[in-house]
């Protein structure tokens, strides 16, 4: 057992009791990072981490993140540390400033251990499209199942207990879906709750800073440290940081109104897991929760994925126009500046990225804009209106976070089926609406994890975290990781 396997609060206590030091924690995290066989890392910050950890001598009693190692998805700007968003076009790029979240964690004296792999430029949900190839699911020793993405490296590394927490970004479900496939807590707070200054933009109307932990309490601690106003991000709420950790026991399941959507439950075809969910719902009822089922509208749910796809591709094509290799990035030669740009972008982007840019650009062409882009934005409004309407008399929206356990890497799905359109893509609802949303570990099937998702009305993170903790206590998978899963399995028997 290593202190890295414990919760942030327990590690903090061990630091206070002088049982370990920030330097020891850092050395251990670096060892684990270097032993990674899942392709989690773009860059391991060995020198920087050791230097910083050596300077941390006096433990700060009231700072739970003091000396805690962590990881960052490679789309956060880190001063003097290479950052390429897993894309060849940014090979060699070294940012000259820190993202606000990086700055805040530095002020808390958390220790950055490495930058993690991702789907290229955060586009994609499989963890297979980064320039370093597939990031593997650490629970699957045969390396045949997806890790999920786009925040794949952060997910796999947190599941491997390399650090207690890791940051990612979530535009459609890029933290909450991999959390399901890796038995993690994956949390995306309200849009605007955490500053996005220094996060590479993909689709800013949907982008969120999000993160992985192995228990709810740690998620509360990380949220409290990252949230709060930032004058460098005009879309960030002018509000104080949350106090989710102090209020973690404030709300109870008794009288909590939990909503399930009939269309999602009907389209969920994994009977073994579905039975477990239904049994769990009975348990929630016995604890005093009020369970409501509602029809959302199948037409609206069918439209979630195309709405997401058109809006995100259109925003992405415009946001990434600055990647031309001239001011920064991996410039290729050419006889004119146009040739320089074309050669750079042709070599720098993978096929998937190019296809998405063309789809987005097509949707924005004057002849198509009304029928594709504007119509998708209108559908978004109707979907969000319906969501707000059904949430009015409810506290929590409860859904399965994915159709089942992680699919096989080459498994293809019917892109017009209910399973794909509704169960596989509904987590974008919370990106459309900006609602806070959290995935938590729920069960294992064939030794592979599966998570459920809880969402609440905007700015109700403290309630959402408090209720999620009650769920966590009932489920009994708090702190599970690849390293200790066998112990949980024994207990389950």
């Amino acid at each position: 057992m290593s202190y890295l396997d414990l919760s942030i609060k327990e590690i903090h206590q061990a630091l206070l009791d002088k049982k370990t030091t920030p330097l020891e924690l850092t050395k251990e995290a670096l060892l684990r990072a270097k032993a990674d066989e899942c392709n989690c890392f773009e860059y391991i910050c060995e020198k920087e981490a050791l230097e910083f950890a050596s300077s941390l001598n006096k433990i700060e009693e009231n700072n739970l993140l003091f000396g805690i190692p962590y990881l960052l998805k490679d789309n956060f700007s880190t001063k003097d540390i290479p950052t390429c968003a897993s894309s060849n076009i940014l090979k060699g790029y070294v940012p000259i400033f820190d993202a606000t979240v990086v700055k805040r964690l530095k002020e808390k004296k958390a220790i950055l251990i490495g930058k993690t792999t991702m789907d290229e430029l955060a586009m994609g949900g499989s963890g297979t499209s980064g320039h370093k190839g597939i990031t593997f699911n650490p629970y699957d020793k045969s390396k045949t199942r997806l890790c999920g993405g786009s925040s794949c490296g952060s997910a796999a590394a947190t599941a491997l207990s390399i650090t207690p927490f890791a940051l990612g970004s979530d535009t459609g479900d890029s933290v909450r879906k991999p959390a399901s496939f890796n038995a993690l807590v994956g949390f995306k707070p309200t849009w605007g709750r955490i500053s996005r200054f220094g996060l590479f933009p993909f689709a800013p109307s949907l982008d969120h800073v999000a993160f992985f932990t192995r228990n709810i309490e740690d998620a509360a601690i990380v949220l409290d440290s990252l949230s709060g106003r930032d004058k460098l991000d005009s879309t960030c709420f002018d509000m104080d940081a949350t106090k989710a950790f102090d209020n973690i026991n404030k709300f109870s399941l008794k009288g909590c109104r939990i909503l399930l959507l009939n269309e999602i439950m009907d389209s969920f075809k994994d009977e073994e897991i579905k039975n477990k969910i239904n049994n769990f719902i009975d348990l929630l009822k016995s604890k005093g929760a009020i369970i409501n089922y509602v029809n959302f509208s199948k037409d609206l749910l069918d439209a979630v994925f195309p709405t997401y796809f058109v809006i995100s591709c259109a925003e992405a094509t415009s946001n990434n126009a600055n990647l031309d290799g001239i001011k920064f990035g991996d410039r290729k030669q050419g006889n004119t500046y146009q040739e320089v740009m074309i050669n750079t972008r042709t070599a720098g982007f993978s096929e998937l990225i190019k296809r998405r840019f063309i789809l987005g650009s097509f949707a924005l062409m004057s002849e198509n804009r009304e029928e594709l882009f504007i119509r998708a934005q209108k559908a978004r409004r109707l979907i969000v209106n319906r969501l707000n309407e059904i949430m009015k008399d409810n506290d929590i929206l409860l859904t399965p976070a994915a159709p089942s356990i992680a699919p096989k890497i080459k498994e293809s799905s019917d892109k017009l089926s209910d399973t794909y359109l509704i169960v596989d893509n509904h987590l974008a609802l919370e990106n459309f609406s900006g609602m806070p949303s959290i995935t938590i570990p729920f069960t294992f099937k064939n030794d592979m994890p599966f998570g459920i998702n809880l969402s609440s009305k905007i700015l109700q993170e403290e309630m959402l975290i408090s209720i999620s903790k009650e769920f966590e206590d009932l489920i009994g998978l708090k702190g599970v990781s690849v390293l200790n899963y066998s112990n949980y399995k024994k207990e389950d028997k």
Binding site: G92, Y93, I96, W191, G192, S205, K231, L232, S234, T235, F237, D238, D299, L300, D302, A303, P306, V310, G325, I326, K327, G329, D330, R331, G334, T336, Y337, E339, V340, M341, I342, T346, F349, E351, K354, R355, F357, I358, L359, S361, F362, M365, E367, N368, L372, I374, R375, A376, Q377, K378, A379, R380, R381, L382, V384, K415, L416, L421, S433, G434
Partner: protein, 99 residues
Amino acid sequence: MKEVNIEVLKDASLRLMFKMSDEEYNTLLQEFDTLFKQMAMISKIKDVDSVMPMTFPFNINTTYLREDEVYDVISKEDALKNAKEVKDGQIKLPKVVKQ
């Protein structure tokens, strides 16, 4: 709406300043086919064109104005640090006006 064919896609990719192979264009054509089927589902939504497009999840009312203060100034060295070719404090590119 504009018809989708290889020529339209080639034109779009050049406007986006990159090239793709014929095989990649064919994959893209298939992707468009699926997307149009999915987009038909959006058109099925009752009164979809009766609402205003949504550009952000909700409105954030900013009730303060930022002071016009100098905050973080990037030095010339930092600004040029990531450019591949720099000459006399400027980014160097192929000549636009040829002799």
